[in-house]
Assembly symmetry: D2
Homo-oligomer: 467 residues x 4
């Protein structure tokens, strides 16, 4: 846990409530990005846009949704993987494409963004944001193609990396997914209203039924109530992000066509077989590890307990008092139930370990209330490599598993035993073809190559900008 | 669930970080009141105060905690049970008591507030808030007593109802609890720093150890590092609020001397014996019913599943789109996991039913994703009477169990079976003396009488006040 | 010049637009106080109130005026002469007086506030603000009188100092002015709507005609469209604040029954006779000295020029860059017209000199653009004593004329000559009886005695309070 | 009066206080644009930027100026003549020009913006704002030139219209003025620090001395302390905006090399000769007409009086109460001094009449307080044509002088006589070559042609955008 998410996308076609439905979808997809949010609508002639830093629940106030007139909408929740938090980076990006408006929302990360941008700047292009997402519209604009479809083709032919994209024109919503299928994107429907969402929980909230995933390399255009789908590229190698199943997606979602809750329980069961423990109770680091913990309990027969309580009122700006009080930091978010843990041998299931610093504090906290033995079980393999496809991992130096072996990590965490799920165990538990996933963060085998390591702020050249 | 809370109290004595420790305590006690928050500190000469509407995580910004200088502090999270949300009602209340400063924070509700206030106004007193809490300081000021202790005695002799109180003077923190012991209040310590908190989770967050409950009718003064305790009244009848155990308190807290998590699991186990079900899975309405659900699962042997996912990003101001979309309201907060529920016979455990409207929507949502049978089990008895001791229940007319019998409620909820925990089952499961609890909301037997039904806005006479 | 104002009052009776008319009146009276503003209305049953720190133009937003329902209103612009800027000090003060609402707005300063408050606190009164104004309502509440009129009588019998007061009850607006008549208060009318305002410019803006001053010691009640006036005290000595004519009031106002513009021109003409100058041009320190400057020009025959331009966009929070740039401070507000001044012998007319620091900077600025001679003429006598009746003067130590004679002040200002208007010249120029004015700030002859020097923050005992 | 301004520019080179000096300059230039403000600094490597809607005095808070690190700065106050108020339109505009940062600030209006933008969009350019100013950087980027100087040359070769421009690169500040010299721009110096400002009042505030105007068609680059000036175009016809002298500029400024105060007094004197009046007093519509009024008084011998008082606390958001109260609108800003005007024959001098609606209200207000005769004198000719070079005039239909002759206007204003300054009188009074001014708004003779009438929102194609 504690990896940063990427982004959440929602598209709506064919409702007089388009802005409100997009808002609801973004509400359900808030976990995918909390930095900023935006909605752009089309009323058939004009676009209407609102974008702001902050949470969905805090930004759309008063008459904003009413002012966002129209029957088509795309929305975006952002967690920045390229580009800073400056306001011009908030998506959807709205541009004037040869006299016609176009809005674009992007989930993913391009690995050849710097090369592309440098080349276009030499040709006289001026960029307004420091996001890789803006490259798409410049590639489209420069393509000299006439139709939106062929302009998109020109752009997808040039970019490399991960991208789920939503494009809004005056009369259409277009969705596409990169040929590797890194991140999920699905289609839904409620009567005549057609939806596109990063996860199916974005469909549930508006009462829409899940229809299908958009396929890797597929482009889907919804215009005048008609859905047109075609391939813009053949996928030679699928590489779906397995962390979507481990941690990012909501357990009530269907992503890559499978139930996240079911897959996570399967991870937990496999973990119990790979790394059994002789213990009194199993507890979860709530809430992201709940399903895996339940799977572990079911498979092992060790009873589940709610041994750690999470404070859901934690805001984004806790004022860490003084250095002396800083150690209590983890207590702001989690508090152990002393009566349950004192004198017990405890299995703690977590979904992942990144730097290890928070885990260490949590384990010390459990020990402080009297846990006799602590057996940590991680429902994913050790993270050894950074991600360049849309997940905000720290650098290799900061990843504890990149420099330490499992017994060393156990010692660092001051726990009795530590067990990680194996890569095979992980992939087999998904129920899908093991080779169709990207596991670069565990193995270093990057499915889409790059000339140099992409950097988060590579496009951020000239200093800081207050809004 | 969905009853409104009362208030959270925190007191700190003997730390140069008093404001920061109070802030952390309020963070952990946020669930007891989200309307407004305040901290008052004493630096030995002067008071420093900050009060604002909103959440702890959103209001204490920038240098506020630094500006709240001093080694003593009291803090308050408010949910209004009397008085409106006007700014002069935000606690702690700070007054000038015969040339000396006094701050007061109150959790509870007085049932003779109107009579007392009318009488004092006839004598020339001017009130600044519309809270019952302000009566204490006026009673103290009018008492002609000399010491703080005897002034408090004069006030407690006059008021009737529920009150946990914290008082801050220039050099002391005083805590007291009404003779009936309606709401909890406990003492803790971390080295030389002494704490008072509504629940023990407010102690855990600052690394303090739980020492003991403050007894009903007890007054505790902390001054110069010394703790002095005495009785200001004998309790002829204890009447602890059983809803503190059912719903209000955090499961990781100790209140009334018992573990909330343990008691809730006991409720669930007893519920399973009183109302067994022939079902495939047991699910909780998260998070307040989690412990009772686990108890039900353990006792019945029916496997627990995380069948409903709660969106923790829900803010306080969801913009309900249009009447047509209003039915999706409950989906904003809860989403069922379709793959788990489809075709299953499901036990749903909830802690309480108030009006029944939200429960009905939840159950329809479960049915919509394919639940074959729904068996609702409530870990408390039917709520038939309003509370006048600090819980914000609706009027009798709005309480579904006040007008409908259980089978009617089941029909209203459109579920297959419905079972409530019995009053005896509830009280026996606490492990404490059954007669020591207030169960007026189930039975109508009010332990502290009143001449007329207290009304929430009785002191709110003259109109509305923008801040 | 730079003395601080006191407060502005507006009362409205008999209009469905009461809040809006009060708002307009406060707009016109903004110059009398810029710290905070408030309006309270009565709809015949209930009060509605809004109070906030800041300017009238910045605080009443959106639907606020619409929400302030009712046909009666009182409004207040505050500059604090007692009490800090804490929010509970913002007026009008609204209290619950023996079960009935009362709002009060005060312009002035009581010199026996501390004694009165101490005595009442010993009797059990609790004060909510640190203003002297709150004493009135406590005195009224404690009086045991039955009618509003007799309660007010009890209060006016106890207080000493300056007070123009507006009181709002559910069905009436009452206005009174202290027996000394320190500050102005006038009655106006537009059809059936009756107004009370600190200055006649508050009547002009709402199209009301000026009827008369409220007399010193007079109380006027407007109820049901009827105006009832009576005396509550005989004035043994009038002591109208002459600074209302010199500086505070707007030149377009009638105060104390005379035109401010006309009186100020008379000051300028007398000044020209008392202190002639051999010069090329006369310029004003805009805008408060404009009328006196014109009078000086007319009498002396020296041509007027607009030699200094004032920047009206100056906000209240200029960020003074660095100490090195701090000297440019005065340039933010004033800029000389170089082409007019270079090589000229210049008479500069200002209304007063307080500390002398700003004047010195202004004169240096004139010299820097080439003024050959500078002859400063002040349209009031030297300020040698602090005011305790509502004007926020600095302490004696800070008043330049309290420690320096005129030639020394001229040297400090680095000007060629300096002349102040004499006390007799000042008083004779008003056209009113010279003995009817308070000139304590020039002579030290305080018309209302006090046991000890009142201090601005005397009631501010216990520290600072963030809102 | 009541014409809208264009923009204010300030450039600073060579001070560690660059951001603070730019801030002070913008403070003094606030009258040229109140919609938004921004400063961009360079620290030699990076840019730092802050931009916000609102006034200078209200937007630069806290540590903003400190965070704007660097020794070079350009700043901008905006009043939009093209483009809406959307946030991406706030200047200075910062772009990434082939890997190097560039900031640009523009005062003026291009008349071929639409043609240029359409052509570049067809070539694949993406625009981020809807201002004409952005065209410069796109023209520069597309030019394939290598040096900044030659890129600017390519841009100036393509644009037509009015432009004073400031450009900031990492190590230089460049200023240029269109060959027609529509708007003013001047150079100043304080020690080693070099300044560029729209008017000399922006130099005075920072203690800088005025050096000279930047000539029409001149480009000045300041780099490493060196000032390099050259011509980028020969001016075949000068067309300086005469309204800069009539109304826009501050009277304490030198613009086009002449003192604004002196020229305005000359307008007033000539006006007195062209349109004498038999009257008792002369009054000004403050403050923009003060100098012309003084000139009229001096020439005619009719005494000046301050007959109308302006409320300088008027904010930008007066809440106009109800339609019934809307007629008082003009009183919010101006109030006549009844005692001066009653029974008098009054000359009212104003700088211009645009629609006539406000003038009519003012004159009615004067009549209402008893003015016996009203003789309006306007210190400029009748405005008959809209401006396309940077002044926000209404359309022809709304200009009262476009459809009515002088006697009709007098009747509309309900005044006794009305006289406008003649075009010859105006131009001769400037003391400069009459043919060097643009008088298109009086004569319709537009010095720079256009194919179709430029429209304010021509680039605003696709709807509204909330920030």
């Amino acid at each position: 846990m504690r990896l940063k998410h990427n982004c959440g996308l929602i598209g709506v076609h064919g409702s007089g409530n388009a802005s409100r439905l997009a808002y609801m979808g973004l509400y359900a997809l808030q976990h995918r990005g909390q930095e900023s949010t935006g909605i752009v609508t089309s009323d058939g002639d004009c676009f209407h846009a609102f974008k702001a830093p902050g949470l969905v629940s805090e930004t759309y106030e008063g008459e904003i949704l009413t002012d966002l007139d129209g029957t088509l909408a795309i929305g975006h929740n952002r967690y920045s993987t390229t580009g800073s938090q400056r306001s011009s980076n908030i998506q959807p990006l709205v541009v004037d494409l040869r006299g016609k408006p176009l809005a674009i929302a992007h989930n993913g990360n391009l690995v050849n963004a710097c090369e592309l941008r440098n080349a276009m700047e030499m040709e006289g292009s001026i960029f307004q944001s420091t996001t890789d997402s803006e490259l798409f519209v410049h590639l489209m604009a420069r393509s000299k193609k006439k139709s939106l479809r062929s302009m998109i083709g020109a752009a997808t032919g040039a970019v490399r990396g991960s991208y789920c994209l939503l494009l809004l024109s005056v009369d259409s919503v277009t969705a596409l997914r990169d040929p590797n299928g890194f991140h999920p994107l699905c289609l839904g429907r409620n009567g005549d209203v057609i939806f596109v969402a990063s996860e199916s929980c974005g469909l549930d909230i508006v009462g829409a039924s899940y229809e299908r995933e958009i396929a890797p390399g597929e482009i889907v255009t919804v215009c005048g109530g008609e859905v047109t789908a075609s391939r813009f590229a053949e996928a030679d190698r699928l590489s779906m992000c397995v962390f979507e199943l481990i941690y990012f997606s909501r357990p009530d979602s269907v992503v890559f066509g499978v139930s996240v809750d079911a897959v996570r329980k399967a991870f937990g069961r496999r973990l119990a077989r790979e790394h059994p423990a002789d213990a009194d109770i199993v507890i979860s680091v709530p809430d992201s590890s709940n399903a895996a913990t339940l799977g572990y309990s079911q498979e092992s027969g060790i009873p589940l307990e709610f041994g750690m309580i999470r404070n859901h009122y934690v805001g984004r700006t806790f004022i860490y008092p003084t250095s002396e009080l800083r150690d209590y930091r983890v207590r702001i978010k989690y508090n152990p139930v002393k009566e349950l843990l004192a004198g017990k041998r405890v299995v703690v299931v977590d979904d992942s370990i990144v730097r290890g610093t928070t885990s260490r504090k949590l384990m010390r906290m459990l020990r402080a209330v009297g846990a006799k033995e602590i057996h940590v079980r991680i429902s994913s393999p050790p993270i050894r490599f950074p991600c360049f496809y849309g997940i905000d991992t720290p650098t290799r130096e900061e990843l504890i598993a990149a420099k330490s072996k499992v017994p060393e990590i156990a010692r660092y965490l001051e726990v009795d035993t530590l067990g990680y799920l194996s890569v095979e165990g992980l992939l087999e538990s998904t129920g899908l073809t093991p080779g169709d996933f990207c596991v670069a963060c565990f193995t270093g085998d990057y499915p889409v190559g790059f000339t140099s390591e992409p950097k988060k702020f590579a496009l951020e050249r000239f200093g800081d900008f207050l809004v």
